[in-house]
């Protein structure tokens, strides 16, 4: 008999160094409570985190990689958004 599918969750962990939650992987669990417990067991066996988020995988909307050219084009041409675009005389020193 084929094993029935159990929902997929994406796991995000905030490490102790104060950075934002970061995606670490995915897992299967029947509900959010079990997903959190499984995430603790699978992804934090060595104190990797202080906070866990689990999100149903199908709740995530992702950009289409095949359209990444068009998607990110607006940022490509705007070099004036970077500090190095602007000239500051050497005498002024670090700014």
């Amino acid at each position: 008999m084929a094993t029935p599918n159990v929902p997929l969750w994406e796991v995000f962990i905030r490490s102790r160094n104060g950075l934002a939650h970061k995606h670490v992987g995915s897992l299967h669990a029947a509900d959010s409570t079990l997903a959190l417990q499984a995430a603790r067991d699978i992804y934090t066996r060595r104190g990797e985190g202080l906070s866990i988020w689990v999100v149903p995988s199908n709740a995530i909307t992702a950009s289409d990689p095949s359209e990444k050219g068009m998607m990110f084009e607006p940022a490509e041409s705007k070099i004036y958004r970077h500090p190095t675009f602007y000239d500051v005389p050497d005498e002024v020193g670090h700014m």
Partner: protein, 330 residues
Amino acid sequence: MYTQALNSSDGDDRGVEDVARASQFQARIDADERIEPNDWMPAAYRKTLTRQISQHAHSEIVGMLPEGNWITRAPSLRRKAALLAKVQDECGHGLYLYAAAETLGTSREELVDAMLSGKAKYSSIFNYPTLTWADIGTIGWLVDGAAIMNQIPLCRCSYGPYARAMIRVCKEESFHQRQGFEIMVTLCRGTVEQKAMAQNALDRWWWPVLMMFGPPDQVSQHSDTSTKWKIKRFSNDELRQKFIDATVPQAEFLGLTIPDPGMKQNENGNWVHSPIDWDEFKQVLAGNGPCNRERLAARRKAHEEGAWVREAAMAYAEKRKSRQLAQAAE
């Protein structure tokens, strides 16, 4: 983000070989770019990786059995805690790897079912028995040592999710090898009987461990395309040689004899082993190793006996969901 849900819409590349896309794909590989789940990939790349990553996952899960055999009989609380942690890690590694394999479009349940039905393979090494406590030391020292040799180059594999899973695995694997070697050091510094037990374990595991690297380069069926796709960065024989050269001095330190009287050091300093009995390897892969039936039976039993837990958890989740919906409707 690598999820099955996101992949499901992208089934159109399977079986369809598009020459232009394939050459673009190869150009990305040659430029050392990582391939991600939703990117276009040749059907054969998807198939090869699904096979390799899922076999790797099955190996981690089946690998829990020979070691789990000694948890209740570990000689001290310290050894027991370490072995338990190691076996838990193996389970974790299996789960990272199933998650990576799933991003290629096959569900974990299908992958697990393929293993339980005997259709999918796992590493031949786990079909050997753990007869004494020294086997636990030898597995950590040699089996995990060989696994590390194989896995470190995989951290740079072209498929992103696999490479990322291997980075986590390799970080944790180093504890496994060290705990195994510590067991060996303790036994080799112990009584005459303890040292003999260590030697006996080495005698039984040495050749099966050399077989873990796979068939010699001249006959390996998957190597060429895997190298072209940067899934494999070193050949079976290269990795085997690296492993032997690293292990010989460790065996010397322990005062143990590698059970290969014909082994010689060549002019480059490499240790050249005697011919490997590939018939034994084929027999074990074909299901005729000492423990093949026992391992599969144990996995099937665990899976079947856990079925009611999975069903109950899903039923409870459904009940809570419908109750919440009913409350929201009021």
